[in-house]
Point group: C2
Chain length 323, copies 2
């Protein structure tokens, strides 16, 4: 195992790094960093466990991408500029081919965001990956979950539900046939909305990234802000592929919308902002208004003006009941 | 599982925190921190895997202590003042009793160092614990592995070998009888040498914490500094309990010294410094001179002036051969 781990270290340590704020990088007891004096730090960590968050036979390039993407998504939701990442990699075996592909996926996303891998840890054991990211943002800024105000419009970036539909397809719960690969891209290669987060930082009142499903994550905003919300389901953004499932009668609208409402792994942003202000912003991705923040601590899902009764998916029902 | 994880969050979130540099703590997408403008940051991360780094039935209080101690030890080796920690906890099951004891061990050490838990992650899966720590140190300071100079004296803190002897005792490789509990304390409750690290910061030329055994870890200093060393084995500090094993003929000196040289998990510091300067320092723990840094890139182990032939433990032989 030792030689394989040397190999890993070689792969990780050899990647060129250019950030001037990294005083001492990989290879000592600690990394040494200089942080900008006019900024605050934003820190977050996430773990992906084999068999829980990804399949044992999943593409290692995608795992490398996703391990970093899920943490970057947290920086995006706070409106922070990514800077440094630490990587703890526990592997039950370390095959060179796997590591090489993992690194390619990981570093492609890292380079895209001008980040540096500053350290980490390698262990032998049941496979899991923990990334810890640090970003910067001006003092006093940062989009918190607690800032939503009555009258705010509620927005989401991108499309919802594709990742959950992919997972259902892989599990054989729905038949996506030749479209599986389209949905699987959303599951395997989520795009952390870093640029959108930066553009929203001074505008949005509250934000969160959608990792556990829109209803659960919006629920955190509502709870921490002490407000309620009304969501218009016909406004929930569905991808062309998802719309095609409905048009071709493979799934009903009600079925698809529940993946969009309760499916995790989308890693889009959900945020609230004063009316009309978002339309004038330059956001680098689709940004759709889906509802409004209410004074009363209630949560309403409307479909063409009528209360939506929901369906059979447990997480969804559980949430609605508990509100 | 969800309710258990809520329980965990409650345990972790409820711990009082008093640091003024934590602008936003646990409970949002990111923690927000303000870092001191005249300091650099030191960051490190470590993972403990059940079945690899601790036994499944190990005392959760000790696991909580050790999970933080191993990362603090890295800050100590750099001479940094601990500040923040993130905790990623993956558990195959979450029993309240286990979590309660884990938290007690974790927070006792955290409070001792005036740190704050700023965030983390909870997952279901094969049990493992990743801690990521951040500390501060003045710009331009920090004890690197690469700073050892010929003529430096080599020191270690505390006693070496007790943790490895405990592990050998638990595995039934040596019979420690009623003394097992004494050795096990070294294995279960390593003391991160944070204060010693702070006192040494402006004096030591190089430092490392001994997690993989003295020879392996001193080897990193020698390699990164491009120097050699001579170690006098009769000076290696052995605990009273270890000395008793020799005096009572349970183990030979040669056997015990090999645990001290190659046993991991001691988490003492090994450092190099100009001659005589350490004697005048106020260090809060035992600090023993064990050898000297040499110009030539050789590594010599002497016992009463004679080359020590080593023994049968593989890691040791491997290292000596590879030098």
């Amino acid at each position: 195992m030792t030689s394989e781990f040397n190999l890993i270290q070689q792969y990780f340590q050899s990647h060129p790094q250019t950030r001037e704020d990294v005083v001492l990088g990989i290879g000592d007891d600690c990394a040494l960093l200089s942080s900008p004096s006019d900024q605050q730090l934003a820190m977050s960590t996430d773990t992906l466990v084999e068999g829980v968050h990804y399949y044992p036979n999943a593409d290692p390039h995608a795992i490398g991408h996703k391990a970093l993407a899920v943490s970057l998504s947290d920086l995006a939701a706070m409106g922070a500029t990514p800077a440094w990442v630490m990587l703890s990699l526990t592997l039950d075996q370390a095959k060179e081919e796997w590591i090489k592909a993992f690194c390619e996926g990981f570093f492609a996303l890292l380079d895209q965001h001008h980040m540096t891998l500053i350290g980490g840890n390698m262990s032998s054991g049941p496979s899991s990956i923990t990334t810890q990211v640090t970003g910067f943002l001006p003092k006093g800024s940062g989009m918190r979950r607690s800032g939503a105000r009555p009258g705010d419009h509620i927005y989401v970036t991108g499309y919802l539900g594709d990742a959950a539909l992919a997972l259902a397809g892989l599990k054989g719960q729905v038949n996506l046939s030749e479209q599986l690969s389209i949905f699987q891209k959303a599951l395997d290669y989520p795009v952390p909305r870093v640029k959108a987060g930066l553009n929203l930082r001074d505008v949005a009142h509250a934000a969160i990234d959608i990792s556990d499903g829109l209803i659960a994550d919006l629920g955190h905003i509502l709870e921490q802000s002490g407000v309620g919300a009304t969501i218009k389901l016909e406004h929930i953004p569905l991808s062309q592929a998802a719309q095609h499932l409905i048009a071709s009668h493979q799934l009903t609208f009600e079925e698809v919308i529940q993946y969009a409402l309760t499916g995790g792994d989308d890693y889009e942003l959900c945020f609230t902002a004063p009316p009309s202000i978002v339309e004038s912003l330059e956001i680098d991705c689709l940004c759709t208004r889906i509802g409004v923040i209410e004074t009363a601590e209630s949560f309403r899902l409307l479909l063409k003006g009528e209360a939506f009764q929901g369906g059979s998916r447990r997480g969804f029902e559980h949430f609605v009941r508990s509100y």
